[in-house]
């Protein structure tokens, strides 16, 4: 008996079988055969090397942009919600559009980190940290809007279940209160999930950095992690539990956010399809944002062997899948409007959406979300990161347009024609929204500078050599001459 199972080179296989076998073999998670030490060095180098010039340039741009949100909010709070374009017809407009847009981007991060972990998609180890960070910062951007759109933000604490002297209490039967619970729980649990994932990596950074402040910061951050097998056993179970909890939570949150709409009676909102609709839309927009983040990171920090072309390819495939699902849902909305027989629903879809004053938005949405992504059927496109980057910019805009169509087109044309109207954003609307991108990228840039952007210990654990039962493959020219199987040289 040979010591190792004979491989293709040892057992003389016909060339077509060998070719088929090669085709079935999965690409490794880390390409070019790098080992665990290289993985740690390369990821830690992002933090330990001096910040590159582009990082400083991006940081200042993001900081400047974030200032717009700050100014917009100060102006709003000191003056009143009248500075936004909202009016009697459109009580909700950009505020809730932007809220749903950002919270959706968050959902994809949880989806990648938790659902792909539960389903044992180990390739996701390379991108889950980046995705979780995206979740947290996107939810922070989302959280700005529900907090300030109440008008008098200094009364926002009424939303919290705190005993008070006013003899009032939050109405737990209201979807808007569910929203408060959903968003705050989502943010809290996302931070916890992300933090637990970071503990072993922070310990690795503690043992690696030389400067005293850095060492102190990472030592505190990792809670004194030592990597003992007893700790790892508890840790892995905790991570598994949190992945399950986060999966449940992402479904709950998108259900609650969609319930803000579907529990009302506005035509175009009052539909049971809203829960999967928001879930799919969220994951779609989030995968687009993830590709936008990963492509520059892998390029500029030379992480191409960890965030491989296969990772980009798989993200593009997810994007395509979500595009097909959302196209189905767009179609199903029209079908139900036709089949349901409500004249108001029919008017909303067959007149307002496609021929009404906002018709251009609807066609732009269909082009961006359903059509352009069909390019991802081609492997060459999926494996070209910068091309994929340019393509997903379009559905990123498209997903914002989708929320705009759902919200503004529906509320400006409800049951009573005398209250119909139009919505026009003001400069405060535009400035505040543009600034949220600054807030998001500012936080993200700080994250990649100070914390490992890729889960070091998880990528190491997914390497073949990390398996204690892993036997190195014996190449034909390395095999001992005395082996009983016939050895072919060359």
């Amino acid at each position: 008996m040979p010591a190792f199972p004979p491989n293709a080179a040892q057992t003389q296989e016909p060339p077509d079988v060998a070719l088929a076998r090669a085709g079935l073999e999965r690409e490794p998670y880390v390409s070019n055969g790098h080992n665990a030490v290289w993985v740690g060095d390369r990821i830690a180098a992002v933090i330990q090397n001096p910040a590159p010039t582009w990082w400083w340039v991006c940081l200042f741009i993001a900081l400047g942009l974030a200032g717009f949100t700050g100014l917009g909010l100060i102006y709003l709070i000191t003056t009143g919600v009248g500075v936004w374009g909202e009016n009697r017809a459109a009580n909700w407009a950009w505020d809730i559009t932007n809220f749903v847009f950002w919270i959706g981007i968050g959902h994809a991060g949880t989806m990648i980190a938790a659902v792909l972990y539960l389903t044992r998609q180990r390739w996701a180890t390379g991108i889950n940290r980046a995705a979780e960070a995206m979740t947290i910062f996107a939810v922070m951007c989302a959280g700005i809007y529900p907090a300030v759109h109440v008008g008098r933000v200094w009364f926002a604490w009424y939303l919290a279940p705190i005993p008070n002297g006013n003899a009032i209490w939050p109405n737990f039967r209201s979807p808007l209160l569910w929203d408060v619970f959903a968003v705050s729980t989502y943010l809290s649990v996302s931070i916890m999930f992300w933090y637990v994932g970071l503990i072993p990596d922070a310990a690795a950074m503690r043992d690696r950095v030389q400067n005293k402040i850095g060492k102190y910061f990472y030592a505190m951050f990792c809670l004194g992690w030592r990597g003992s097998a007893r700790q790892w056993a508890n840790y892995e179970f905790c991570y598994l539990m949190l992945a399950g909890i986060a999966t449940l939570l992402v479904i709950s949150t998108c259900t609650v956010v969609s319930s803000d709409f579907s529990t009302s009676v506005i035509p175009g909102w009052h539909g049971t399809i809203f829960i999967p609709y928001f879930g799919v839309g969220a994951i779609y927009g989030g995968f687009c944002m993830l590709i936008i983040l990963l492509v520059p990171i892998r390029q500029f920090y030379k992480l191409e062997d960890i965030i491989t072309l296969r990772h980009i390819d798989l993200c593009c495939r997810f994007t395509l899948l979500m595009a097909l699902l959302i196209t189905y849902i767009y179609g199903m909305e029209f079908f139900i409007a036709y089949y349901g027989g409500s004249p108001n629903e029919r008017h909303t879809f067959f007149y307002d959406r496609i021929r009404g004053p906002y018709w251009l938005t609807w066609y732009a949405m269909i082009f961006a979300n359903s059509i352009i992504v069909q390019l991802f059927w081609m492997k060459k496109v999926r494996r070209n990161p910068w091309l994929a980057f340019c393509i997903v910019l379009v559905p990123s805009v498209g997903m914002w347009l989708e929320r705009y169509v759902i919200i503004v087109v529906s509320v400006t044309r409800d049951y009573l024609p005398s209250s119909w109207g139009m919505f026009y954003p003001t400069w405060v609307d535009i400035m505040t929204f543009a600034g949220t991108f600054g807030v998001f990228f500012l936080l993200y840039l700080l994250f990649i500078r100070f914390l490992p952007v890729i889960a070091i210990s998880e990528v190491r654990g997914a390497l073949p050599e990390a398996n204690p039962h892993h036997a190195p493959v014996v190449l034909a020219h390395d095999a001992p001459e005395t082996d009983v199987t016939e050895v072919h040289h060359g």
Binding site: T185, M192, G224, N234, M241, S252, E465
Partner: protein, 196 residues
Amino acid sequence: MADAVALRPLVVPVGSPLPPNLYAVACEFAGPAEVYHAAEKIRDLGFKWWDCYTPYYVHGLDRAMGQRKSFVPWFTLAGGLGGLVGAFLLVVITSVWVYPMDTQGKPYFALPAFVPILDLVMILLSAIVSILGMTTLSLLPRLHHPLWEWDAFMRATNDKFFVVIEANDPKFNEKATAELLKQLGGTNLTFIGDVA
């Protein structure tokens, strides 16, 4: 006398005079397979107070060490149930008895409308309690540990694998245990002492 004790080094290679307050004998292994097989042998010899240190989770190592399944999922369950019951009481007591408010003709006790709140508080509490369970069972947070006196141990989070057998173990014997680790293939055999 006390000063003399403090000056004795806490970390010494096996063979030198023992450090004060001997904590453990430790050694290094090159890879996960080596530490895995060593762990199986140490488990079979009946050691209890010992541990392996790895830079990443080595699958099956907990079983090779003879550990029981982690207790963390029970914390998750307890947190979830606690959150569910707590949220139910909060919502029902305030909505039905303390601050009954007639809004949109909805009943005071509207269980379907309470479900999202119950669900979300349950999730929040189960996540918090899972993490508290994990840190408690792992004896974290921790500001100091005798092993951190050992410079070689800095690589436990990078590329080296360690086995540490504590002096507390009933089967521990300085010479025999060090010899055992050597036979199992451990290198860089070291005695670790503790302050105070």
